[in-house]
Structures are given as C-alpha cells and as structure tokens.
Symmetry: C2
Subunit: 219 residues, 2 copies
C-alpha cells in the first residue's frame, strides 16, 4: 500500500452482518489483496496503512458457501472503489491508470509485471504526456524479474492494439494520444500469452505537479 | 543499468594491455558491478546497455595477483567516473546523489536497500527540494524487502547525523538544507549496524524538468 507524503491510509468498513473474527479476516484479506494491495502512487510503501472491517452482528450471520457470495462481492466492490480513489487522488495525478496483466503463468508473476509497469517513472510520465509509448510498457514488463516473452505478448492502450508478438503494429497514434489526453482513466492491457492468471493494478501518472508537491513539502 | 528515454548506453574502454578474454571479462565484470550496475536514474532498466573492454596487447601482459592491482584499480576508477556521469547527466537532474549503505549483513541485502532508496520517488523529490527528510530515506530502507532494523540504523545526509537507533536526532535542518541546495553532490550514508558489507550507489534527483522531458518526448 502506498502513503503519499508518508501519510497514513486508514480504511474502515462497517457492516451489520454477524461475522466471526476468522471469517471477517479471510473476507477482508481476500478483498484487500485485489484492491488496497494492488495500488501504487509511486511505489513508496507507507509505514502504517490499515484496513479494518467492523461487524456489529445486528443483521445476523452471513451464510457460508455460495450463499455468502453477495456479501463477499459487495465488500470487494467497496474495497476496489476506495482503493482506486487513492491513486486517482495521488499527488498531482492527472490520470488514473488501470493495468490489466492477463494470461500470466502464475498469479505472483503476473502481479510482479503489473506492479513494475505501475511503478515505472517512464511509463507514468508517458501517460502524463498522453504518449502511447509501447516501448516503455513492454520494457518495464521485461525488467520485472520474472519470465516475460515479448514474442507472445500483446499490448493494448485504451483498447487499441499497439504491440503484438515482439513488434509494434500500425495504429493511429494521434487517435490514441487524443483519447489519453481526453480521458481521466487510462487502460493498459498486457496479454502475456503464458497461462491463465490475470491481475488488475491501479496507479497514478507522474506529473510536474507530483514533483512540485513532494519537493516543496518539507517535514 | 538505466537508459533514460530508452536510449542505449554504450561504454567502451581501450587499453594496450595484453589480456586474455577470461581475464578481461573478470576484470570488467568486477568493475561494472561496483559502477555501471550501481547507478539509477529512475530504475527503468534499458534494453541494451553495453560495456566493452578492448585490449590491443601492445603494452604487454598485466601481471596476475597483487602486481596486477594497479591495472584493476585504474579500470575501476574509469568505470566509476563514467558511471557517475550518467545519473549526474540524468534528465533534468539538479543533484547527483551518492548513497552509501554500510554495515549490511550481506552484500546483496545492502545493495537492495541502496537501490530501493535510490529509486524512491519521494527520496528523489526530497533531494530536489533540498529537504533533509530522514523519514523518506529510512522508510524506503524499510520496504526494500530485506531485513532492516531501524533500532540499529544511523543516517547521515551531507555528513550530518539525522537519525539514530529508531529516532530522529536534533540537527540544524536549515544548515543541512542549505548545503543540499548549494552542493551539486549529495551524500546519503546509512549505517545498518548489521554486519560488515558496504555498497555504494548513485542516483539523480527527481525534478520538474525530469517530468517535462519524459512527458513531452513522444516516440
């Protein structure tokens, strides 16, 4: 989790459901893993981020098994909504970037690639500059420290194919750049072609205002 | 190694010494490990950095053992001089930062901490803003993913002690800030108190001009 300016993130969820401590912990851990643990502003981990789930029990128990799914899904949606709000509100951010890494050979490897792309200053400045720079994204995947084969990779930015099987493809750079300039939310989709594991990650872009805010702020 | 804007770093050393390929490889590898492999602009690894050592043999062989030391040391000095020039000339850099991590329990762990501090956008913006922000440096060490005990750590910036054994110490913040503002080269010295392994790493600061250059540059 990321705490801009060493601030603390405090997330608190309240429910009237009746949950045992173990049940609440498992539900929240599963949701945090795909939300608060999948965001980054600049990759500098904060020292004391916290997410709590408080259950009063007033509304009775959450059924186990598939009947309990709506509660788990609702909690996940809430976690994702709050988690996305953090990089969207990152210092100086002009874009929220959703990075979908698909078809990884394992969850951990797909996550590592998503996180490395999310933390690349060159990717994040390219987003700030509305530059559909496939080279920065693919090379970030390449140095993530896990297997990555450009020969099987495909890359989309805002749903436009930029790169396929080791080579850039012809695309309307101006149209993609215009969409990046116009839309607050940017979608990066990197298909690895290595397996069936998908990971979604969110990050901010890196702007002049990010530097101004963090260079001018003194402790 | 780091290639700003996906450029290629090509380093070529020429010598009239007579070296076998194995000897040259070993000498150069040892030197690159403490020079070109210890620099960072923003941590985005380039795709094709190269360092070559070409030996004509005209001046005769380099003696083995301790008599060969002057050659090895000379090569190392040349490597360090060229390697330092890269972050010093990083896009928009207003400071060259030398990070000495001392007293690590292993070389790899000390290196990991040095590299993590070097790549923290919050540390790098603090340097740009001449802010002796011990919290950003110590917390970066803390998330490096290797053992780090703040209770045994001591941190100096430009030779002034800022932090010792888990707590900041009283120091003249204005004097340190003024020295950071005035001097091109900033010295961060982090003593881990965990062993005897030292690593030196160099990085740039992160400025508004870095973002401008990398956001405005389109492929």
């Amino acid at each position: 989790m990321i705490g801009p300016n060493m601030a603390t993130m405090l997330g608190v969820f309240l429910t009237d459901a009746e949950l045992s401590p173990d049940q609440a912990q498992e539900l929240l851990q599963n949701c945090a893993d795909v939300s608060f643990n999948c965001i980054s502003v600049e990759g500098h981990m904060s020292t004391n981020d916290t997410v709590l789930l408080l259950a009063s029990g007033a509304a009775g128990p959450v059924p186990s098994g598939s009947e309990g799914k709506p509660f788990a899904e609702g909690l996940r949606e809430c976690c994702i909504e709050l988690a996305r709000a953090i990089p969207n509100d990152g210092e100086g951010a002009s874009h929220l970037v959703t990075i979908d890494v698909k078809g990884g050979d394992s969850h951990d490897n797909a996550r590592r690639i998503a996180e490395t792309v999310a933390n690349s200053a060159l990717v994040k400045t390219a987003i700030a500059g509305a530059d559909p720079n496939w080279g920065r994204i693919v090379s970030a995947a390449g140095y993530a420290g896990v297997p990555f084969d450009p020969g099987t990779a495909r890359l989309f930015v805002n749903d436009t194919l930029l790169y396929e099987r080791g080579e850039p493809v012809a695309f309307d750079a101006k149209a993609v750049s215009d969409s990046m300039d116009r839309e607050r939310e940017i979608r990066i989709e990197l298909h690895l072609g290595a397996g069936s594991h998908d990971v979604r990650f969110w990050t901010s872009d890196l702007t002049v205002d990010y530097v101004r805010l963090n260079a001018d702020y003194h402790t």
